[in-house]
């Protein structure tokens, strides 16, 4: 079980925390726990939370993590939970220099969690809530049976990415009674106020009243459309409208809450890992390292920053971008004058000694997420220096290859991969499709097709919750398709878009 810090580790913590504060980092209280690698793998399998509802996929995660550790392929270095207080884990077998590095990195994350706008609506008591979720799920398991509950969770997890990534906070059900009253009050059409009764025919001619009535009628028709506007939060739609048993609703709402909790972390991965890496490197190299620790530190640090051609390392991309921003604002490489200068030599030696870099990065860490971060600060110079490229799969050669190094394309591809966390955008467009109570979803196609086998399996899982046929409109090879699952069979119909 987790142990509290040894006197030595407490001293190190105090030291690193002092440096972090002196650099201006601002974080919740951070509690470090010392664990064995087995325990660390366990906590990591649960997504950082020591208490989570029981499910086999944590076991699968654990199997993969432990195997990776045994084979020496991977080792988890840091694990922080966004909570107030923050919780972080230290591996008991690590050397002092490793522990200092991890602590410095953790303070970077905690500062980011506390200050970045994406986390403004994050539940900071998630540790307690996760434990409550676990208790609720366990209770349902006792009551309903483990097979049934697990099976339901499997099907629900299949839909967990169908939330509204950009919902500023979790929307609650509007009061249905109030909505009804509002509708009633709209029903009567009286026209303009009439002081003298004999004027009524002139002020409110019957054609006018008719048109008003029609307007109200249309409004009502529109209200009947269900949902009125396409709804991105498919899970919420199901919670409100699917014929779920009470225990099913409860489990579904748990899955949804957790999905929303993790969403902002997905939206700020590059920034957040980069920020933490920037700070561990700054704190370690400027303050905390002892002479005899330099080599081990360099070994660890370069291990984290390693890249391979076909994958982006968020730690590496993030830290380089933060450093680039700092340098640009230190040297004044921004603004109109800089943008309009096309003298290469002047650009290269450009240094206005503004020294605004540190201030700038603190501001950026507050107001951006990965998309706006990349969109605003990824420059052509940076892309060249970091050797970024677009790659794709060549069917003919049956291999992955470098497609392009052109800045625009690299940037667009990066942004595309970050939009909606790299997930397709899918909305509920009709809960009463064909007037038969079928559920119709639509995929906002952005040039990439859905993985067809996964799409079919997901529709199947959706059907089991909706209990009526489910359909999705999408595109394959640029042609409109309606996939439908009726509970027995999958069908695929061509449609015009």
């Amino acid at each position: 079980m987790p142990k509290s810090l040894t006197p030595q580790l407490s001293r190190l913590k105090e030291e690193i925390e002092g440096y972090a504060r002196a650099f201006g980092l601002d974080f919740f209280e951070t509690i470090f726990e010392v664990v064995s690698y087995d325990e660390l793998n366990m906590v990591a399998s649960y997504g950082g939370f020591p208490t989570r509802y029981p499910h086999w996929r944590w076991g699968m995660e654990y199997e993969q993590l432990s195997k990776g550790y045994e084979y020496g392929l991977s080792k988890i270095y840091e694990l922080v939970i966004n909570n107030d207080p923050c919780y972080a884990y230290l591996l008991e077998s690590n050397s002092d220099v490793d522990q200092k590095l991890v602590m410095a990195h953790v303070y970077g994350h905690c500062d980011f969690f506390k200050n970045n706008f994406s986390f403004r609506h994050t539940n900071r008591r998630m540790i307690d809530d996760m434990a409550n979720h676990a208790t609720r799920v366990r209770r349902w398991i006792d009551k309903i049976g483990v097979e049934k509950v697990e099976d339901f969770i499997d099907r629900t997890l299949s839909l967990e990415n169908l939330i509204d990534q950009h919902a500023p906070h979790i929307r609650r059900n509007p009061d249905p009674k109030r909505a009804e009253d509002e509708m009633k009050s709209n029903e009567r059409v009286e026209g303009f106020k009439v002081d003298r009764e004999y004027m009524r025919g002139f002020i409110n001619p019957s054609e006018f009243l008719d048109s008003q009535r029609k307007k109200v009628e249309d409004e009502k028709q529109k209200a009947k459309k269900f949902p009125e506007r396409p709804q991105r939060d498919v899970l919420l739609f199901l919670l409100e409208n699917a014929p779920l048993e009470p225990w099913e609703s409860d489990v579904l709402s748990i899955i949804r809450d957790e999905a929303y909790y993790f969403a902002p972390q997905g939206q700020t991965k590059i920034m957040n890992e980069g920020w933490a890496s920037y700070w561990h490197s700054t704190i370690m190299t400027r303050r905390a390292l002892k002479d005899d620790e330099v080599i081990d530190y360099a070994d660890r640090h370069s291990g984290t920053m390693g890249t391979r051609p076909g994958a982006l390392n968020p730690y590496k991309l993030g830290i380089e971008l933060w450093r680039d921003i700092e340098e640009r604002w230190n040297k004044g490489r921004f603004g109109k004058e800089w943008d309009e200068c096309d003298d290469l030599r002047a650009r290269r030696s450009w240094d206005k000694r503004l020294g605004m870099g540190r201030e700038k990065i603190f501001e950026v860490r507050k107001h951006y997420n990965d998309i706006t971060f990349i969109d605003t600060f990824l420059t052509p110079e940076f892309a060249i220096e970091q050797k970024l490229f677009v790659y794709g799969f060549n069917e003919k050669r049956n291999s992955w290859e470098i497609l392009d190094r052109e800045f625009r394309k690299v940037k667009n591809k990066l942004l595309q991969g970050l939009t909606n966390f790299g997930q397709p955008i899918i909305e509920v467009v009709d809960g009463n499709h064909e007037n038969r109570g079928e559920l119709l979803l639509a995929h906002k196609h952005d040039g990439q097709d859905l993985k067809p086998d996964y799409a079919r399996e997901t529709l199947r899982n959706l059907q089991s919750l909706w209990r009526r046929p489910t359909c999705i409109i999408t595109r394959y090879d640029n042609k409109g398709v309606l996939l439908r699952f009726d509970g027995q069979n999958h069908t695929e119909k061509k449609i015009d878009l």
């Binding site: 299949s158 005899d292 081990d296 391979r308 490229f389 470098i402 690299v410 999705i472």
Partner: protein, 369 residues
């Protein structure tokens, strides 16, 4: 100390096991698993253990990478991270995850599905072997176990500390004190002695399909027996008109023309047992596969005589598998059945095609001998 994860972990393993069990017949018929066998584990594709989502196909999607290379240059295999860590399936509707299962576990599953009894051992005497287990790093040790990276780092540290490291001429010279060595402990492992002696007819009438059946079947026999006896030996004999002992690879890939004299193989088998595997200390399992054609009735008589007098008395079980071939008469199994079919330690099985392997494994192992 037990961690909470162990519940979820064993639930996961249980699911994997269930998937393997329900697909076992398919796995047994297909030979593809054999190619995925590691030292102690085997990679088994499990259908649908992944949780499906609406998502993009990674191949359509591509991505952004980092590093050197011209446009059009191929990325080395393994350089690209698949979508979310899982191996994608090949065709539509066939997504699967590869799970490593230990051969021991696989044997257990096989045993449960086929309801195989555990083997009654004739001999329980154990020999003890020693195995090296690396346990850490030490400052002394043999040169062959020198840990290069640790040694180098130690030297680098020392030179920096002493101020003799020159970044312009980054030469690192480890001294005696810098050297680091892997250290190890010897572990003693008890073993039970058992040997499988595989024999196969490789004459012209045994085609590729027949040999494939033998290959698949022997994989499962191996797996089961290895589960029952730790430290199993295997010997391989091929024969047409003459027999010779070969290695495993040759065993499965030799093709000869010419006649068939089964007695030659049994003779060699007998000699091997006599020379290397005293009955008093070994559990012995000869398996013979042929298409059932023998050169002459006289040779068959010799075979039966040898089985009766030399082989059967010294082995746990003698097994004969007859693989159907368009050229074979299939006579041999009839002769064996007549002559020694009643013996308790004889197992005979006819294998018509790949589908029949499943049942044939049970013929061979079902007696628990």
């Amino acid at each position: 100390m037990s961690l909470r994860i162990h519940q979820d972990h064993s639930r996961f393993k249980q699911i994997v096991r269930g998937k393997i069990k329900s697909n076992l017949r398919k796995y047994v018929q297909k030979g593809e698993m054999i190619g995925k066998k590691g030292k102690d584990t085997i990679a088994i594709p499990i259908p649908f253990i992944d949780i499906p989502h609406f998502k993009y196909g990674h191949k359509e999607q591509g991505g952004v990478g980092q590093g050197d290379g011209e446009v059009g240059q191929q990325l080395s295999p393994g350089a690209v991270q698949p979508g979310d860590g899982h191996q994608a399936g090949q065709g539509e509707g066939d997504h699967s995850l590869e799970v490593d299962v230990t051969l021991d576990e696989l044997a257990q599953i096989l045993g449960e599905e086929l309801q195989l009894p555990n083997i009654e051992r004739r001999h329980n005497e154990k020999i003890v072997t020693q195995r090296i287990k690396y346990t850490g790093v030490n400052t002394t040790g043999p040169e062959s176990l020198r840990h290069f990276k640790r040694t180098y780092k130690q030297a680098l540290k020392r030179q920096i500390a002493m101020g003799t490291y020159d970044p312009a001429r980054p030469i690192i010279i480890p001294t005696r004190e810098d050297r680091r060595y892997r250290s190890y402990k010897l572990q003693e492992l008890p073993e039970t002695n058992a040997v499988i002696i595989y024999m196969m007819d490789v004459s012209g009438s045994m085609g590729d399909e027949q040999k494939e059946i033998v290959r698949i079947e022997s994989f499962w026999l191996d797996t089961w027996l290895r589960h029952q006896y730790k430290g199993l030996e295997a010997r391989y004999i091929i024969h047409d008109a003459v027999a010779r002992e070969v290695d495993r690879d040759t065993f499965f890939h030799t093709r000869e023309s010419g006649g068939t004299m089964i007695s030659s193989a049994y003779k060699l088998c007998r000699d091997i047992i006599k020379a290397d595997y005293p009955k008093s200390a070994w559990n012995i399992y000869p398996f013979h596969f042929s298409d059932g054609d023998n050169w002459s009735a006289d040779d068959t008589r010799q075979c039966i005589e040898m089985l009766r007098e030399d082989i059967l008395p010294s082995v746990n079980q003698f097994a004969y598998g007859q693989v159907e071939s368009p050229y074979g008469s299939g006579q041999f199994i009839k002769d064996l059945r007549e002559a020694i079919g009643d013996s308790t330690n004889v197992a005979l099985s006819e294998i018509a095609d790949k589908d029949a392997i499943y049942a044939s494994i049970k013929d061979f192992l079902g007696k628990g001998r």
